[in-house]
Point group: C2
Chain length 704, copies 2
Amino acid sequence: MLKLKALFEPKSVAVVGASTREGSVGSDTLKNLIKSGYKGKIYPVNPKAKILSGLKCYQSISQIKTKIDLVLIIVPAAIVAQVLEEAGRLGVPAAIIISAGFKDVGRQDLEIEIKKIAQKYNIAVLGPNCLGLINPSKKLNLSFAPLMPKAGGLAFLTQSGALGTAIIDIARDLNIGFSVFASVGNKAVIDEADLISYWKNDKKTKVFGIYAEQLNRPEILGAVIDNLCVGANPKPVVILKSGRTSIGASASLSHTGAMAGNDAVYDAFFSRHGVIRANSVNEFFSYLQIFNNNKHLPAKRVAIITNAGGPGILAVDALAYNGLNVASLSLESKQKLKKVLPAAGSSHNPVDLLGDAGPERYRAALEIISQDAKVDSMLIVVSPQSMTRVDELTHWLVNWQKKCLKPLAVCLMGASLMEDSIVKLRQVGVAVYTYPEEAVKALAALSKFNDSKHLFNDKKVFDLPKINRLSRHEADKIFIQAKAESFTALAEFQVLPILKAYGIPTPKFILVDNNEDAILATKYFKGRLAIKVASPDILHKSDVGGVMLNVEPGDIPSARKSLLRAVSKNNPKARLFGVLIMPMFNPGLAELIVGAVKDNGLGHALMLGWGGIYTEIIKDSTFILPPFNKTVIREMFTSLKVNTLLDGARGAKAADKKAVVDILLRLYRLLQDFPQIKEIDLNPVVVYNKGVMVLDAKITLDNN
Amino acid sequence: MLKLKALFEPKSVAVVGASTREGSVGSDTLKNLIKSGYKGKIYPVNPKAKILSGLKCYQSISQIKTKIDLVLIIVPAAIVAQVLEEAGRLGVPAAIIISAGFKDVGRQDLEIEIKKIAQKYNIAVLGPNCLGLINPSKKLNLSFAPLMPKAGGLAFLTQSGALGTAIIDIARDLNIGFSVFASVGNKAVIDEADLISYWKNDKKTKVFGIYAEQLNRPEILGAVIDNLCVGANPKPVVILKSGRTSIGASASLSHTGAMAGNDAVYDAFFSRHGVIRANSVNEFFSYLQIFNNNKHLPAKRVAIITNAGGPGILAVDALAYNGLNVASLSLESKQKLKKVLPAAGSSHNPVDLLGDAGPERYRAALEIISQDAKVDSMLIVVSPQSMTRVDELTHWLVNWQKKCLKPLAVCLMGASLMEDSIVKLRQVGVAVYTYPEEAVKALAALSKFNDSKHLFNDKKVFDLPKINRLSRHEADKIFIQAKAESFTALAEFQVLPILKAYGIPTPKFILVDNNEDAILATKYFKGRLAIKVASPDILHKSDVGGVMLNVEPGDIPSARKSLLRAVSKNNPKARLFGVLIMPMFNPGLAELIVGAVKDNGLGHALMLGWGGIYTEIIKDSTFILPPFNKTVIREMFTSLKVNTLLDGARGAKAADKKAVVDILLRLYRLLQDFPQIKEIDLNPVVVYNKGVMVLDAKITLDNN
């Protein structure tokens, strides 16, 4: 376990690479540190200078001769290791490497060196390639950000330094303060899981905001995030994750791989752990504002109080779109409202106070509605009419909100006319938005966070099925052979035996590679058959004429010949291992696809979806990540369209979902045993009201 | 045709209901008019005052004795008609009724009176229940809005006055000026189509922005909007339409009705006419900004130039999400970029200038990229680093953008650090955004508008099939009977004969209402049969056991009895007209649903979708509105998932789409002949590779 205290509360800091050159990182960083009001010792280190910004400058850290808690490294990449090694020998517990030029430019070697040194001396290293770190409550700015954020409730971690500076500037405008600002850079040593772990007990921190391009160590990160919700003051995590389109862009051989595009695996991870995902920088701030300013109470049934009908309807639209409810007010509230509203006003939700409403009418309505037990949260919408007297209304709201026990969002629709009020309300911790749709999205995030607790509260994790050694050995042989022959993929005839070994239901099948065996096979089967080409080079068999259905057993020899002829013609280079023969199966209740994909950061994720010929047409699929429990499994099914068929549409019996879950768990066991599996498709998986059957499958392998 | 000139350029205005009461509409409106700098005559009218705001006040408009171009009416609803009648008799050509208390509070009667007077005297009436009208270039403020907008390129029409005032305030902040601001209120006389028609030739107007809750007269409005795109300077229409959820909320008896929820009919109307729909107020402004500041050129291939990697990736994500392309730069551009960028920078799109980029590097990159023929539009992203020198960069951009011939959006990610630059760039007509996702959405709207031209450029409108009198009479009889018996819906046995009369393929069927006929029927059919209950009270036959499939002809009598028994038990009150007997059909290539729905504002829209048992599960449907042409029909098919099946998936023959189109056109003819049809479902419609067959159908009727 890394000891991060020295990183965030160092008693002394050496700035290695401090500089005098105006506008350089070495100069800005040193100046920031001095300017920030830091109470500890500052030691500039630069062999070419005697004094920097009025401080004595050292040739090297070894010359400092007193205890150093943290080295801030801004030297060229090539000599960073040398500085870190020196720090390690001196017993420095923490370092921030601002310097770029590591993994970011393809120099993995330099980064590995850093990691090794950090490990050797147990140094808590932030970076490299980062903007640095700011701890506002300690008046500590260890970054070259042009602005010092104010202290507050946001713990912000960013994989992009440049975005970080924009975030500081915009947050200041929104009156969002920081408990910590950390630019994690390449995350060579310290990553988000470490930082959340350290900050989770910080009393000032109300919400974690993270910008990430890739996340790693899913089990640890997931557990750390789950842990934030233990206790009376849960701390939500809001993540802005970029690179949605990167997986989708690269062509994928499997259906599962194709469906994992658009970040489906990240979405699965986030919903598994109650993380609120922001889909834009704007949403990111909307969510940070609401979490920073509200208790984490239910918010689902929203009352809208407005002086403008149009924006009221827009808010109602947004509620429906975001899965929130228009609260139905109690009869008592409605009667009370009727008394305080003009005849043309609406005492139904959205409560329309009319355009000539002044502060008195807002006040009367809000005091009634905030007491209504059928209302979870309130959205106050104000458009700037002559009669609104926004200043007065604001003055009253500033005081009233202190007593208000329910989540609250205020939408002040305007610019110059609203400016002062926006500032005043934000100062007292009210979430203020310009547009009703943004305010509603924020309330939806609050509600979603509250609802997500049931997912990680379900602690009964399924055990993965045990596989005996012999079975595992069966599978092993096939993978070893594939590696020996440099196969990048395994076709059906190779995958079915693996699945069988792992207890996944597969048809009785035989592989026939000559005419004599084909003749023998005519006696082996009864009923109609499927005959398919067996080739490690052909994953899409139908495309090359490699599948014949409904073949009579007596026709096996001739079917085999004509099938191989067709395939050879369409794909002359493919190595043909013969044909696979198996019985035809009746269609069952539905055809599913069961698959898995390996994400570079999050590891293996399982997929379930509508399979067969509809796989590509309907694109109905969902991903899940471990730990698997009943709640996760149930929500996996209900999120799918095909679930209606599984539940028994139009009087049909329900499908055997237990058997589907069994396949998923066995598949996950297989992935744990063989991490070299990059993508796997079982498709179609025919589901009956009792049992399932995997009729086809393929695997693609990691190249290394 | 109404003469609107007097409305927008009156030489004299009478303000009826002008008042001295501070903060009242009558007082604010008069003051606004005086303050705005209006050059014409102003006549306050109020029987209780002699002088108002320094102007002579009249007892009534009759006493004014000189020509009045416009009366602005602010009196209580009950006496508005009287004032309008007086104005009509005096020959006043235009009126604005600000007063509320008409349709808005259920007083349709008062509104009809207004309409009649307007018609009698041919008065151009805006309102009632509106904020009024502003013509900034004429310095004319005929509203009680608290702010006067500046003159500019936005023609803004709003159905919500309160939203209007917010829009004026926010637009000022964004430096968007108005050519006209019109609050249309209840639209008793003048609606959006009239206003667009009048303003379409205005040289200052660059874009129409509309907030609407309901639109009417779809043919006229559609034609007027199409007309805006004729000529070299097309004027886009951006609409913020609220009330998305109103249809969906009311329970619907038909599938088509259910699918028309979430405003699908409006979406169809908008895409038919190249209208850009904004889904939030924020989007509305994003789009207005980009259209107000850019030529309508292609924008699809976007180059991103950034000093921050993270926001660059966010922008790429947003491009993919919004259907835009990451432009691939020409080899020449890349080589030139390499020369001006540091080694760690990226000369690929997104072009990363790195965090230490100053104005020089932006300049060098932009001059290269703006000349690249493979780039349509540019997104400049700036995060506030110490080295950015945003002021200098802005100064250069202000001049450079004049020469830039390609659409341009600038994303300045920050608040206080960017404030001055945002103002300066907006002043010279650059679209500036805080967040990359917003900037990308705006470029996408530009691109979409450019792409939408092909839809209304296709002027070859399909003729609707002709139906002979006899056939129409057949259908007529059924509707007349339904009305006589107060049916609110027509069941299959009533609808199939109507469809048959209109030339829509239906199965050979007989209605059997006694045992003798059932016995006779055993001779009439060969092959297996479907037997279904015939009752005007049962629209969902399967739910009450009212359908038996695969019945042998010999079993008709017994099947009939057991079916009727089951139905009577499940629905004892239903009137049973017997059973319908028809042959079973083979499944074909796909089962479709063909339907129509009547929207209160936009009239009948046709629907096509995936039908049969998948209707509710997959919810794959699309709506179209007339005029129908090849382009509309083609895009209708390609927007559907089921189209893959229709095109012949996995080697199957293609479906007979012509036959599907023929049904749609015949159905539309039926709707024109019988406007009392509220919803109609033909489902399933089995499609073969030659021909189609409608196997079931129902109609719901308008109550009046």
